[in-house]
Symmetry: D2
Subunit: 358 residues, 4 copies
Amino acid sequence: MADKMRATIFLEPGRIVLGEKPIPHIGPLDALVRITTTTICGTDVHILKGEYPVASGLTIGHEPVGVIEKLGSAVLGYEEGQRVIAGAITPSGWSNASLDGCHSQCGRDGPHGFKPLGGWRFGNTIDGAQAEYLLVPDAMANLAPIPDGLTDEQVLMCPDILSTGFGGAEAGKIRIGDTVAVFAQGPIGLCATAGARAMGAAEIIAVESLPARAAISRKMGADHVVDFTHEDPVSEIMRITRGRGVDVAIEALGRQQTFEWALRCLRPGGTLSSLGVYSEDLRIPLDAFAAGLGDHRIVTTLCPGGKERMRRLMAAVAGGRVDTAALVTHHFGLDDIETAYDLFAHQRDGVLKVAIRP
Amino acid sequence: MADKMRATIFLEPGRIVLGEKPIPHIGPLDALVRITTTTICGTDVHILKGEYPVASGLTIGHEPVGVIEKLGSAVLGYEEGQRVIAGAITPSGWSNASLDGCHSQCGRDGPHGFKPLGGWRFGNTIDGAQAEYLLVPDAMANLAPIPDGLTDEQVLMCPDILSTGFGGAEAGKIRIGDTVAVFAQGPIGLCATAGARAMGAAEIIAVESLPARAAISRKMGADHVVDFTHEDPVSEIMRITRGRGVDVAIEALGRQQTFEWALRCLRPGGTLSSLGVYSEDLRIPLDAFAAGLGDHRIVTTLCPGGKERMRRLMAAVAGGRVDTAALVTHHFGLDDIETAYDLFAHQRDGVLKVAIRP
Amino acid sequence: MADKMRATIFLEPGRIVLGEKPIPHIGPLDALVRITTTTICGTDVHILKGEYPVASGLTIGHEPVGVIEKLGSAVLGYEEGQRVIAGAITPSGWSNASLDGCHSQCGRDGPHGFKPLGGWRFGNTIDGAQAEYLLVPDAMANLAPIPDGLTDEQVLMCPDILSTGFGGAEAGKIRIGDTVAVFAQGPIGLCATAGARAMGAAEIIAVESLPARAAISRKMGADHVVDFTHEDPVSEIMRITRGRGVDVAIEALGRQQTFEWALRCLRPGGTLSSLGVYSEDLRIPLDAFAAGLGDHRIVTTLCPGGKERMRRLMAAVAGGRVDTAALVTHHFGLDDIETAYDLFAHQRDGVLKVAIRP
Amino acid sequence: MADKMRATIFLEPGRIVLGEKPIPHIGPLDALVRITTTTICGTDVHILKGEYPVASGLTIGHEPVGVIEKLGSAVLGYEEGQRVIAGAITPSGWSNASLDGCHSQCGRDGPHGFKPLGGWRFGNTIDGAQAEYLLVPDAMANLAPIPDGLTDEQVLMCPDILSTGFGGAEAGKIRIGDTVAVFAQGPIGLCATAGARAMGAAEIIAVESLPARAAISRKMGADHVVDFTHEDPVSEIMRITRGRGVDVAIEALGRQQTFEWALRCLRPGGTLSSLGVYSEDLRIPLDAFAAGLGDHRIVTTLCPGGKERMRRLMAAVAGGRVDTAALVTHHFGLDDIETAYDLFAHQRDGVLKVAIRP
C-alpha cells in the first residue's frame, strides 16, 4: 500500500478536481476502507456550485462501497478484506441523539448531543468517498457487511439514495391501502416511489415530466405518472383520487412549487413527507393548510444511516424487494471523475446516477 | 316545554345578538340537550368580526354542558335528565374519516368520507350551544355523561379548550423527560401547558407577556414564563436549555411570529405542534428549517371530539389531574351574552373564559 | 321480492342445515343486502362442531358480497343496487371502543362501550351471510362499495381472511427489511404472508407441511417454506437467519405448538403477532420468554372491520398488490351448502376456501 | 489511589461477601468511576439465592452513582471529577440492536448484534457497582452527568428502579385519561405507579397488601390501593371501574398470580405491561385471553439504559416530576454490605431500598 491516493477534491465554487492526498491514518475506533465503487449525489453538485459550503481541500462524496483495508485497534467484530458499505450518514452511536434514535442529527461535541445534520460527515465535515480510500469513523456503528451474492452496483444506492427515498415513505407512515403521490422522479424520488410500493401503498401517483424517468418510475412502482408540463398535477391527482386527495405526499425536489403541490393534493389529516433540500424560505398557503386546522403533518427526513439501517436496506435488495439497477445509467473510472461531474451536473444523456470505480 | 327559546345569533360581521328561535325538532339519531352552562371561544370572536364566515341567522357556540331533554327514536343507552357534555367537534362515527380515527375531518357527504374541518358543526354549519337548547347530531357518538360529583364549571373546558390544548401536547408526542415550550398562554395555551405537564414533560417554558396569564401558567405547570416584550424568547429558551433547544414546541396563537419562534427553539429532530388558527400564509425560514434536513415535524391539531374523548378528559378532571377552574374568570346569564361578547372580544378585565348560564 | 329466503342455519352441534327464514325487516340504520357470493370460514366449522357456541336457529356466515336491496330510512350516501361488501366485523362507529379505534371490541350495550369480540355480530349474535339476504346493522359504518372492475371473487376474502391476515402483519408492525415467520398457511396464514410481503418484509419464512399450501405460500410472498414434519421449524428458522431469529413471528393456527415455535424463533425484542383462535390455555415457556426480560411483545388481532377498512383492502386488490384468487379452490350454489360444509370441515380435495353463490 | 479496593463479591449461592479486588484497569473506551452511592436490587437477591447464575468471584450491583476517576484514552466530552450515574443497562451504542433502539438486548458479539439481556452487564457479565470503583464500558454511551443541585440519593433510583418502572408505563403506551392497575408495590411497582401518573393516567389502582407500601403508593400517585389479602383484586378493580376494566395493567412482581390478575382486569384491547422477572413458565388462561381474539397486547420491558435515558430521568427528578426519596428507607456503609443484604433479602424493618456509601 502506497502512502498517496487519488481523491476528488473541492477547491472552490465551480472547481472539483481529481488530486492526490495522503492515505488517511486511522484512530482506534476508525476503519480504512478501500473504495471499489462510489457515486455522485445531487448534494455534491450543490457543493460544486458553491450552494452548500464546505472547506476547500475536502474530499467529496458520501456513498461508499468497498473493502476493509485496515481496522482501528479498538474495532471488534470485523475482518480485513470484508466487503462493506457505510451509510452517507455515520452516526456515533453514543451521542444523546443517536441513543435517542435520531442518528442523522448526531452531535459529537458539547454536552447536549444533538447537532443539525451532525450525522452527515463524509464529504461534508470530514473527507469523503470519491477517493481510493476512506476513513470510516465510529466503524463499529457504521460498517455494514455486504451479503454474499450482491454486486457493488446492487448496493450502491443503499448509503444515500435508497435510504433517503425509503425514509420518506417511512416518515410518511404509509399504510397498506394508502394512496401516495411522489413529486419529482430523480433518483431519490424514484426510491421514494419504491418505498411507497414496499410499504403497501395501493395507488402511487408520480409527478415527473421527463419520459425516461417516467418509464423508470413505473418500474419502481408508480401506477400513474403525471406530467406537470401538460396538466396541473393537483387537479390531475384530485381527478385520479375522485376528489379525495392522497394520504401521503412525498416531496423529492426541494422547491416551493412541489412543496405546495404536495400540500394541496393531501386529504384532510394527510402527511406531507419532505425529502428535498430547499434553497429558500418555504411558504405554506393558508388555504392549503386549512388555516392550521386540517390535522396535517409536515415531516422532514435526512437520510437515515448506521450499519443496522444499511443491513436492512441490503436485505431488501437481497430479497428482490427493490431493484435499483435501472438507476445506474453511466460508468466512469475515478480518473474520469471530472467528466462524470460535468455530465451529472448538467444532467446530460439521461443520467440518473453514475458508478465510479477507482 | 315551550316552543321558543333564546339563542345567540350571528347576523352579520360585527353583530351577534340574543334572539328567539324555535326549539329544534330532533331526528332519530339526534338528542336535544337543555344547556345549563356554555362559554364563548376565541373562534366565536373571529365569527363576530367576520374573519370566519358563517351563515347569517346561525346560533353560535360549540361548548355545551347540559341535560338531556329528549332522545331521538333510534338513540339507545341514554336517559332523559342525564347530565352530559358534547365535544365542540361532533364526529359521525360512521364516516370513513371517523372510522380511520380522524374524527375532526369527518365527511358526511360524498363517497370519500373526509372533509376539511368536517367534524366541526356546532356554531359553524349547524346551530350551536349559546342557546337554551341544542340539537346534538349523531347523539350516540357524542353525548358524554358527566361523572357524579363534577360541576358544570369543572367540565366546561372539556368540549374545546382542554381537548385542543391536550391535543397539542399529544400530537407533539411528548415523552417523560422532554423539554417543552408553549407559545402564548391564552385558554388554549394554558391547557397545552397542562397537557405537557400531564404527559411527563420535565421542563416547561411558557411564553406570555400578561402577568395574570403568567401566574396561571405557573399553576397549570409552567416552570418558566418568558415575557417576550422584555427578552427575545428564542434566546431565552436557548439559555434555559443550555443551547439544546426544546423537544416539542407548541404554537397556541396563530401568528407568523410565534410559529417562527416555535421552529427556531426546536432541537434538531424536534416537533412543532401547531394549535393556532392562522389568518395568512405561513413562512418557514430556511435556516430554522435546516433547509429541510433537520428531521423536523410540524403537526397541526383540530380539537379532538366524540364521547370517548370527552369521557377521558372528564376522567382526568375527576382524578384531579387537571383543574381548569382558574380559567373561568367571569360569569354571565344568557341574557347578558352581548355584554359577555363585548368583554371577551376586547379581552377586558383580565378575562380568560366566561361561563354563560341560560 | 318474496317474503322467504333460504338460509344456512345452525341447529345443534353437528348440524348446520339449509332452511327457510323470513327475509329480514330492517330498521332505520340498517341495510338489506342481497348476497351474491359468500364463503365458509374455519370459525363456522368451530360453530358446527359445537366448539364455539351460538344460538340454535342462527344463520351462519360472516363474509358477505352482494347488492344493496333496501336502505333503512336514516341511511344516507348509498343507492339501492350498489355492489357492496361488509366486513365480518361490523362496528357501530359510535361506541366508545369504536371511537377509540378498537372497532372489533365494540360494545353497544352498557355505559362503557367495550365488549370482548363485540364487533363480531354476523353469524355470531345476529343472523349471518350464508343466506339469500343479509341485514347489515349500522349500515353507514359498514357498507363498502366495490370498486368498478372487481369481481365478487376478487373481493370475497376482504371481509375476513384478508383483513385478518393483513391485520396480523400490521399488528406486528413489520418494517421494511424485517425478517418474518408465519406459522401455518391456511387461508389466514397465507394472507398474513401476503401482508408481510405488502409491508416490506425482506425475508419471509412460512411453516407448512401440505405441498399445495406451500406452493400457494410462495406465490403469496414466502421466500422459504419449512415443512415441520421433516425438520424442526425453530432450528430451521435459526439456520436460515444465521442465528439471529425473526423480527416478527405470526401465529395463524391457534395451537400451543405453533405459539411456542413462534416465540422461540423471535430475536430479542421481537414481536409475536397472534391470529389463531385457541381452544385451551396457552403456556409461555420461561426460557423462550427470557424470564420476562427479552423486551418481547405478544399481540393479538381480531379481524379489523368497518367500511374504511374494507375500502383500503379492496384498493390493495384493485391495485394488484394482493391477489387472493388462488385461495378459492371450490364453487358451490347455496343449495349445496351442506356438501360444501362437509368438504370444508374435513379439508378434503385440497380445499382452501369455497365460493358460495345463492 | 491505591491498587486495591473493597468489593461485594458473589462466591456461591448463599454467599455474597465483602472482599478485596484490584482496582480495574480501563481500556480506551472505558471510564473508571469512584462510587459514592449505590444500592441493592431484588435481582441481586436472586443472584444471592442462586436463582440467577453468575460467575463466582463477580462483583455484584448495577446501580452506580459516583465521580469520574479516570477516562479511557478515546473518551471525549467528559472531565475527571464530574459527578455521574450510569444505567444498570450499558448499551454499546454501536451494536445493531442499539442502533435499532433496542438497547437492552444489545449484542456485542457475532454478526447479528442482538443478544438476550445483552445490555445488562454490571454485576451480571462484568464486575458491578457495589464496590469502591467501577469500570464503565462504552463510557461515551453511558456516563450521564448529574445535574447541579441533585444529591446522590435523589438520582440513586435512576439507573434501574425508576427506569424500569417508568419503562413499564411507557411500554404500556399509557395515554391521558387512561385507567391503570399496577400489581405489587415494591420499588419497581412504586416507580411504575409514578410513571403511570407522569404519563397522565386519570385513575391508578395499585394492588399491595403491606400498609407501609400502600402509604407510599398513594404518595407516588395511586388513587386506590387494593389489599389482595382482603379482597379479590380483579373483582375490586372491576367494581372501581364499573365493569369496564383497565386500559393498562402493569405486572411488577413476576408471578403467575399477578400476571393472571393483570390479564383478567384488562378491558378488551388493553395492554398488559410486564416488568416482573418470572421463575417458571407462565400460563395464559383461555378465557382471560378471549381465546386470542381480544386484541390484547402483552409487552415486556428490561430496564432501559444509556446516558440519554439517564439524562431524561434525572431531568424528571430535577423538575420535581417524581420524588423517589421515600423509597430509600435504610443507609449503610460498604463495610456493612453483608448486613444490608441480610436485611434486604429478608425484607425486614419495612425496607424498600438501601443506600450504600463506600
